[in-house]
Structure formats: C-alpha cells, structure tokens
C-alpha cells in the first residue's frame, strides 16, 4: 500500500508543479533575483526618484538632448509658408540617402501616402483614414522645405513624426518624397550627386542647424 501511495503522491506533485506554475497573467519566479533586477534605472521603470515616478522623462526645458537639435521655424501658418519657400534639403542627393529615405518612407509614410506617393496607402484602401492627397496635388504644390516642416510638426490630421525620426532621417525621407513627386508628374529622374562620406554628412547636418538657429550658438 505504501509504495502505491508514494507513487501517486509523486505523480500528483510532479503534475501540479509542471502545470500549476504556468500562469499567463504573472511572471514566473526567479532564482536569486538580485542578479535579475537592475540596480540602475531600467527603461520605462517606475522609480520614486523622479517627480512623476517615471523613468521615461522629457528633456528639461531649455536643454537640448544629444543629437537632437531645435528647429528654426515655428508651428504656425506663417512658419509653414516660410519653410516651404526658403528651407532647402542640406543632404546631397546620393543613392545612399535616397535608399535610406525609401526604407524609412516605407515604414512611416507609405501606410497612408502609398508606396508611390499617390495617397493610396493600405489604410486608405481599407477606408480607415481618408483624404490623403497625392504628392503631385496642384493646390498643395509641395516643396522640400514644406515636406520637412510637415513631417516635423504634422499638419491638420497628420501627426508629427519628430518623435520617430531624427533630423537626418527626415531629410532623407524628404529626398524620397520629392523623388516620388517627380515620378508622379512624369518628370525625368534627378541625377545623383557625389557620395558624401558618413562623417561629412554628420557635419552638414550640424552646420546647418548652428547657422539657422541662434539658440544653439548661445549655448
């Protein structure tokens, strides 16, 4: 009798252990958790050290995060008109920049604006978001500066993409958008410029912002 009882008991324990621990709503327990849990602040962690308890903080007012530069034109109708008129793409029109622009365009823009820039992205085809104009729309007559400005601030229903892309990436996307516009209008393809090295390109971006924006020079 004893053996059998033990057998059953072992089987039952094994079954409960292997099944009982599995709970989809909570994490499994850890062995020596002091090696698991970070001493430093973890991304998106919750800590009392911060005013609102969140590790994810927005930059302190008046400071500029590394690699993130202020933009000279204000988010107003006049600012838009001004950027549309005078702002030019500082990046050379190279194959690398265009390809990178295409890659980013496919992630962030094509879902509404369509792979060809004709305003027929997947969300439009599925009638989730409507009224996306084609890039060759006459009433809008988009320009480099305008494209950059709108991707930075958003316009009407379109949101800002400043959180998802950086300055260089937005200019690369702008190259690709202007390329799509030329294709839609049936214009000949623009000739590529000589390739800028990665270092040169970084310098172009930083120079442009320093000149344009007095805030960076006073810092």
């Amino acid at each position: 009798m004893g053996m059998k009882t033990i057998k059953i008991a072992v089987a039952l324990i094994a079954a409960t252990l292997s099944v009982g621990c599995f709970n989809k709503d909570s994490r499994n327990y850890e062995f020596f958790p002091d090696m698991y849990e970070s001493v430093g602040y973890e991304t998106y962690g919750e800590y009392e050290a911060f005013g609102n308890g969140q590790q994810a903080q927005i930059p302190v007012e008046g400071t500029i995060a590394r690699g993130w530069k202020p933009y000279a034109y204000p988010n107003t109708t006049e600012g838009f008109a001004q950027a549309k008129e005078e702002l030019k793409n500082p990046l050379p029109y190279t194959e690398d920049n265009l390809n990178k622009g295409k890659e980013l365009y496919t992630i962030y823009c094509a879902i509404c604006h369509g792979d060809k820039g004709d305003g027929k992205g997947n969300l439009v085809k599925r009638e989730k978001i409507l009224g996306i104009p084609s890039y060759d729309d006459m009433g809008r007559a988009i320009t480099e500066g305008g494209v950059y400005h709108v991707s930075y601030y958003g316009l009407n229903t379109m949101g800002s993409y400043a959180a998802q892309t950086n300055e260089e990436e937005r200019w690369q996307i702008t190259h690709y958008v202007m390329d799509l516009k030329a294709q839609l209008e049936g214009k000949p393809k623009r000739a590529f410029e000589t390739k800028a090295s990665l270092k040169e390109q970084k310098e172009i971006i930083s120079e442009v912002t320093v000149q344009e924006n007095p805030v960076t020079t006073t810092h």
């Binding site: 009798m1 499994n28 090696m35 973890e42 892309t165």
Partner: protein, 430 residues
Amino acid sequence: MEKVNIRHSISKRLLLLLAVFLSFSQLNYSQDDGGSSLGDPAKGKELFNSQCAACHKPYARSTGPALHGITEKRDIDWLYRWIRNSAEMIAAGDADAIAIFEEYNETPMTAFPQLSDQDINDILAYVEQPKPEPPVAAAGEAAAGAGAGAGVSTNIIMAALTFVLLLLVIILVLVNKTLTRFAEASGVELPEEEARKPLWKAFAENQFLVLSSSVILLLVGAYFAYGYLMQVGVDQGYQPVQPIHFSHKIHAGDNGIDCKYCHSSARVSKTSGIPSLNVCMNCHKSVSEVAPETATEEYSKEFYDGQIAKLYEATGWDPTTQSYSGEEKPVKWVRVHNLPDFAYFNHSQHVTVAGVDCQKCHGPVEEMEILEQYAPLTMGWCIECHRETNVKMEGNEYYEKIHEELSKKYGVEKLTAAQMGALECGKCHY
C-alpha cells in the same frame, strides 16, 4: 404556426411602409435642392474620400466643419469660390469667409483649383445624403443568435452522448443479471474466487520488481525535477492584461502597419521602445471608432470603441472639439519582454545591422490579439541562433576586413555570428 404567420406579414407590411416613406423623403429632399443642381453622390463619395476627407467628415467636426447641411447654409456660388481658393476670399474681406476661418483656429483650407463645378456638385450631393442608420443592432442580434445556436447544438450532442452511455451501462447490468439467473436456473456452477495474496504484498516480495520500479521512479522524478528547475525565471507564454486592450492583430496584421512605425527606437537604440501616445494619435486623431467588421465574436465594436475612448482620456483629446485639454494621464503598460540585468541585449544591432525580422524572436505578433512572450529568451536560445545565422554583409563595410580574415582562418565562405565572436561571454555579460 398561425401566429407566426401573422407576425411575419405585419413585419413585412411595416418594412414596405418604411421603404415607401424613405423613397418619398428622398424625393422630397432632392426637390428641395432643385434636383438638377446636385450631382452624382457615388462619384462625389470617391472625390470626397480622396480630396476632402483629410479634414472633413460628413456628419462630424474634424479639422474643418461637418459638411452635411452646408448647401442650406451657403449659396452654391459662394461654395465654388471657397473650395477653389478660400485664402483669396478671406483676403478680399468676405465676412462669412473670415468668420469661418477664425472659428476653425485660422487653419487655412487647401485650395482645389482642379475641381470643376460638376465635381463640386457631386461632392455636395454625397455629403447631403441623409446619415445612414448604423445596422449595429441587427448585426448584433444575428451574431448573438448564431453564438447561442452553436452553444445549444454542442450541449444537445453532449446530452445525447451521456444518455446513450447511461443506457449502455444499464443494459450491461441487466444482461449480466439475466445471465447469472440463467446459469443458476440451469444448474451451471459458477467458479468461486479463491482468496489470493493482495497485489501490493506480491509486489513487495518480488525484489526485482521493487528495484526496477524504484529506478524508473527516480528517473521520472529526476526528469520532472530537471524540467521544473529549467523553467525557473523563464516567462515564455507570459500574457499580462494591459490597461488598454491593444490588438497587434488589428494594427500589424489586418492593417499591415510596420512594427517599426510604433517601435521606432528598435532601429536605433538598445530598447525597442513602447510608443508614446502621440504615436497612437497620429492615426487615432481621425480613427475615433472601429469599423463594424472589425468586431469579432469575442470582442464587440463597443468594446473596441471603449479602448479608443481610453486613449482619448489618457491624452486629453476631445473628439467633439478636436483639441487637447492638456490633462494627461499616462498609461501604465505592463512590460512583457524583460531580460535579466546580467544579460545585455541591443535591438538596433539585431534589427538594423543584422536585419533580423521582428517575428524571429517575437513570434507571429501580427496574429496576436493579446500579446504574449513567444520565445523563452534563455541563453541557450540566443546561442542557438548565433550558431546558425550568417553575418549579414550586404551594405556593411564595417565588417569587411574582419570577415575576410576570419573566413580564411576558418576556411568557410560565410561566417556565422558565432564565428565572428558572438559567443564570447563578454559580448552579453559584463
């Protein structure tokens, strides 16, 4: 039966009445507008969706005003001029134009010089159609009926099966009884059972059996114990309830939004990033409710709309005035994937440099209604992939020299990540 028939005919009559009423009201309507002045609503819908819908909705305020009823409010020539170039009218000092410009936060309307009179007539015909009644109630009833039907049928089958089984048991008992009685009546002697040694005693006396069964028992025990110990700290299948029911299936699957649209920092940083709510609002500024066909049996349209309402509450967005109140309530998402502190992992190295698909580690996220941890995220799992995967060389000058030297050394054409040093302890533990 007769009752049903009567009801049927009554509902039919009602339907007919409704149809007649509707057709009359439509007739009245077009007569009011002079009939010929308005165009083809079907063409208008196409134009409206491609040109106007970015800022206008027919029956609700968006960036611009709701357009239903506009022809009663404004003169048709005024509308032609406004649509083709509103800025000119404002500059010329048209009182109505200035009033509407100021009411809508001085947001200028894009000029549409390409639209002909007929195009504009078509668009107006479309927006002036009476608001369609949502067929929600009927659809809901039908769905409920279908669901109930499925439930009833399985219940019936189960009940029938139980009944048949019970019947079989009863028959067996009866047959056994009858046979015994027969045997008794015809004088057949039933063999009587001898008092045998109890089974466990026989087992305990047999030393070989005891030995072998305890070996088996120990092995089985060790197997389970090992399995149990190996899953400590592994969260595979972890599927927490999130504060907002976000369906990856709808967003990444049905709508085909790229993973990196929302998880943009996976391209460039260590962490993949939980999108801040402004990213949600990029689309949900205009998508304030789900389409009726998005609803499933499990989750209704009301349920999904409620989730979007939660987003609006968190961001302080008021859809009726189309503005932010400034009152924000951060959403406390529950983190699903979390590596222990002693292991370093960088998303950008895998996503941008190696070009690994997100699904390789995160599984078919585009099919998950509720996200769960797909991979075990154990060290063995990492190592296995590093051993099997070749280093991606296309468009990456950075690795060129080392790849050439190492491939010569190992005598292979393509190096795996492991041969490139991806098994070194210090790569992930320091």
